[in-house]
């Protein structure tokens, strides 16, 4: 029975036949109570922002409606649209080449292309400046043979676009690869047998089915672009986030900063609505029966070479370049006898706090994902959407909100790991919710009902059936949280226990002077450690491909 509500709401990939759609039954208390608590927790910074901006009085309106604010708004929206569009143009062929063709070394490319996600955006920013900036590597390379004295200006929009795309396109790539692997190849075969060639089939059958993945991946890319500070500040492109930082930095004006942050929240809501619209209304599913076979790989023929050049170019720019720059700085520093002064404590701290965050956030994401998938309705949908707000806010806003609440209302736990982990929860929850949700959608609700009929409570059914079956998505979400926590800086600086150093804070304290060996070594370590969970995500995806 398809309820009216289910038709209006966002389409989801359902397992089984049409009859298994939305439950209208009230969800069990073990699910909705924790879900509500998590959502309230996640919205805490928004309460804070409202509280602060109320204190500002009339001045805030004057400031918000200045032409300049509107300009920044325009720039921010422009950057979000451009980063999303470029990522899409980049990742559609990448995802297709690495999942559906006989591209040479396909598996290797499938592993390498999502890896740039582990690179912190400030490292990406430095890479762009060093490589493409005035007197940068490219210009020096070209100045000899071609006598080129000036490159097109990299600062501003082009640089910010490049740097943010570099570190955020993997969100979209992973979503597309997963979706491409999940599409029943029979659809494409049916299209071929009906007289449409591979390209028409891709355009008319595959692409429409990728829509939910495109929407979900673009959402993360777009919200990430809203939040990024490292790249935009290095490349001098004024976005809302930069403007918010500047409020704190230059005027110590928390009220205005809060007002600007609320505009950012509004912008995030607009993006969330746009995403829901993009998904479209159709509900996509693969029916339960029938053996799914692996798709026939498209034979690239002479297109093999352009495809290889394309993949190499992407990996070279987004992965090899930043990594070699870090290695270069590190070795130059070591060669010139600079003391690296690297202790093991920050390495351990980074891994430890990121692992804790991964576990806690994966658990917190569960009730929300279960609610959204199994008890689809306006309330559960709103709750799921609300978790994305924190992902769009700059780290400093979240950090100061928690400084305020913890110092004044939870004094005993202020400046303990507890509050820091809470901040990570707000910042990174949607990554885990999204991936858990997609895994849950693959679990046939009949299996849970079977467990209930065998005498288990709803709680036991979740524990013994749902969780083990949804484990791949839960683990992937945890891995994603792990590597973004490794990179996080502002909340870590402001909320960690005093003296608690991580790799990210080491990089920060080294770069506040100049970016040389002392920053390169921790940055390299950070990237290497983050690659472990990233490799896990990629391998899991590959495992699912069969």
């Amino acid at each position: 029975m398809v309820t009216v509500a289910a038709k209006i709401l966002r389409p989801v990939i359902r397992h089984g036949k049409s009859g298994q759609a939305a439950h209208t039954a009230w969800p069990p208390a073990v699910v909705w109570i924790p879900a509500v608590l998590v959502v309230i927790a996640v919205l805490l910074p928004v309460f804070y922002l409202v509280l602060r901006s109320l204190g500002a009085g009339g001045e805030i309106w004057e400031l918000l409606f200045r032409v300049r604010t509107l300009q920044i708004l325009g720039r921010t929206v422009g950057l979000v649209v451009a980063v999303t569009a470029v990522s899409l143009v980049l990742t559609l062929p990448l995802a297709w080449l690495t999942t559906r063709t006989d591209l040479p070394l396909r598996q290797m490319w499938a592993i390498l292309t999502p890896l740039p996600l582990v690179i912190p955006s400030y490292v990406a920013g430095f890479t762009i400046v060093s490589a493409l900036g005035p007197r940068g590597m490219l210009q020096q390379l070209l100045s000899g043979p071609f006598g080129l004295e000036r490159l097109p200006e990299i600062y501003g929009f082009p640089g910010a676009l490049l740097a943010i795309t570099m570190v955020s396109y993997p969100y979209l790539l992973v979503a597309l690869q997963t979706s491409l692997r999940g599409i029943d190849p029979c659809m494409e075969e049916a299209s071929r047998s009906l007289g449409h060639g591979p390209w028409a089939t891709f355009r008319r059958v595959t692409l429409p089915q990728l829509r939910p993945a495109i929407a979900a991946g673009s959402l993360l890319v777009g919200l990430y672009t809203l939040r990024d500070f490292g790249a935009v500040s290095l490349l001098r492109y004024e976005t809302f986030t930069w403007a918010i930082y500047l409020q704190y930095q230059t005027s110590f004006d928390r009220m205005v900063a809060a007002g600007l942050s609320l505009v950012l929240v509004a912008l995030a809501i607009v993006i969330l609505i746009a995403e829901a619209r993009t998904r479209g209304r159709a509900r996509y599913h693969r029916s339960a029966a029938g053996v799914k076979h692996s798709p026939i790989l498209v034979h690239l023929g002479k297109w093999r070479w352009p495809a290889l050049i394309f993949c190499s170019f992407v990996v070279l720019l987004t992965l090899v370049l930043p990594m070699s720059l870090l290695v270069f700085w590190a070795t130059r520093g070591i060669a010139s006898g600079e003391s690296l002064g690297l202790a093991w404590a920050p390495v351990f701290n980074s891994a430890y706090v990121s692992a804790l965050a991964a576990i806690i956030i994966a658990i917190a994401a569960l009730p929300i994902a279960i609610l959204a998938v199994r008890h689809s309705g306006t309330a559960s949908r709103l709750m799921e959407r609300a978790t994305y707000i924190g992902f769009a806010l700059p780290g400093i806003v979240i950090a100061l909100a928690l400084v305020f609440f913890a110092a004044n209302y939870a004094t005993p736990i202020y400046q303990t790991l507890g509050v820091l982990l809470f901040a990570y929860l707000i910042l990174f929850l949607p990554q885990a919710v999204g991936s858990t949700q997609s895994s849950l959608l693959q679990v046939n609700p009949r299996t849970e009902e079977a467990a209930r009929s065998l005498g288990r409570t709803s709680w036991q059914a979740i524990l013994t059936i749902t969780l083990p079956l949804a484990r791949p998505g839960i683990l992937a979400g945890a891995a994603l949280v792990f590597l973004t926590t490794m990179k996080e800086l502002p909340a870590t600086l402001l909320l960690s226990p005093t003296g608690f150093k991580t790799l990210a804070t080491l990089v920060w304290s080294a770069t506040s002077e100049a970016f040389f060996a002392q920053a390169a070594v921790p940055a390299l370590l950070l990237v290497l450690i983050s690659s472990i969970p990233m490799a896990f995500i990629v391998f899991r995806e590959r495992g699912n491909a069969i």
Binding site: F348, L493, G499, K501, S509
Partner: protein
């Protein structure tokens, strides 16, 4: 099996959070958040430092060694630290705020306790505010950094005003979001008045000055020939000289005609009103202002001492030779007016 696994995970998480706050993750134990049982003899001190660890950790370690006081330091940007202190309000665990610039410490001045005469009297009058709620700890001079391959010192103008001359078009850079730059603009407003300052800003914009995010980037850009002249503080040059040697093609020029372009800025420190360790905190400030502390800043961080009788680094132009303008610290803290001017000119958001 999955149930047991989950129970185990839950247990681990609980243990890790509870235990993680002190052992083994944090190399130094968490501070006593709000000193619930205050005692005047407590020998620990919490410092919020907006100055970077590389710059101040050695001298703080010396203080601990000399006095036996255990110092917990939190490092973050000055502005983030100031915002944190404001959010913490009366529950702030901080005893001392050590800020990079007067604006940062000025933002929290209402939360600072007045300092005793014994401390303030050590400091040269131009480096402390009249209300004695904080003191300067070290000074830095505003300079023009120029590319030695393209310019000689004599090519540079007598006054910073002259950078508005069209001959500098496309050759200059600045970092308008940098707090030191903004402090210089504050000085301009006090010395030149609002109108002339506004004209200067417009003139620099008309000369299409390149915008940089910080001073390091400016100096680096001068060395690469991206611009000919930058407007940083004096000491950024010395870290480059240390890293890249004397062939680094940038040198400082102290504006010979004086005026706002030659203003000397300070990093300052104050004690929080809510601190339960005020005596220890005063000891800390006294140490920073002692010959040991001041000599450290003079010779290790290439800064200017703020107390008389300390020898500056041989590479630095001696303080008396700089024609720095007379301007009160209270005037220098007026960041709000500067910001509205900069916003009005469309230079900062």
């Amino acid at each position: 099996m999955p149930k047991r696994f989950l129970a185990l995970v839950g247990l681990l998480v609980t243990l890790a959070i509870v235990g993680g706050a002190c052992a083994p993750a944090a190399p130094t134990p968490a501070p006593s958040p709000a000193p619930a049982a205050p005692s005047a003899t407590t020998q620990t001190l919490t410092v919020y430092s907006g100055r970077s660890e590389a710059l101040v950790k050695p001298i703080i370690d010396q203080f601990s060694k000399a006095t036996g006081v255990k110092v917990n330091v939190r490092y973050a940007g000055t502005s983030e630290m100031a915002a944190t202190i404001l959010e913490e309000g009366k529950n702030s665990p901080a005893d001392v705020f050590f800020a990079q610039d007067p604006g940062g410490i000025g933002a929290v001045v209402n939360m600072l306790a007045p300092l005793p005469e014994s401390i303030t009297s050590k400091v040269l009058p131009q480096f402390r505010p009249a209300d004695s709620r904080w003191v300067g700890i070290s000074g830095r001079a505003r300079v023009l950094a120029y590319n030695t391959a393209k310019l000689q010192e004599s090519d540079l103008p007598d006054d910073i005003w002259d950078l508005t001359d069209p001959k500098w078009k496309g050759r200059i850079g600045w970092a308008p979001t940098n707090a030191s730059f903004q402090a210089m603009v504050t000085a301009m407003r006090k010395l030149w008045g609002e109108d002339k300052t506004r004209q200067w800003l417009a003139g620099i914009q008309a000369n299409s000055a390149k915008v940089y995010s910080n001073n390091t980037a400016q100096v680096d850009a001068v060395s690469k020939g991206e611009i000919d002249v930058a407007m940083p503080n004096h000491y950024y040059l010395y870290s480059f000289l240390r890293d890249k040697g004397n062939s680094f093609p940038v040198r400082n020029y102290y504006v010979r005609g004086g005026g706002p372009g030659a203003v000397i800025l300070v990093a300052g420190a104050g004690i929080l009103e809510t601190s339960q360790n005020k005596e220890t905190a005063q000891k800390f400030l006294e140490f920073l202002l002692s010959p040991t502390g001041q000599q450290y800043f003079a010779s290790q961080t290439f800064e200017y001492p703020v107390v008389p009788g300390i020898i500056t680094h041989p590479l630095l132009k001696p303080l008396p030779e700089i024609k720095s303008p007379e301007i009160s610290m209270a005037d220098m803290a007026d960041l709000k007016g500067t910001l509205s001017l900069l916003r009005e000119s469309g230079i900062v958001p």
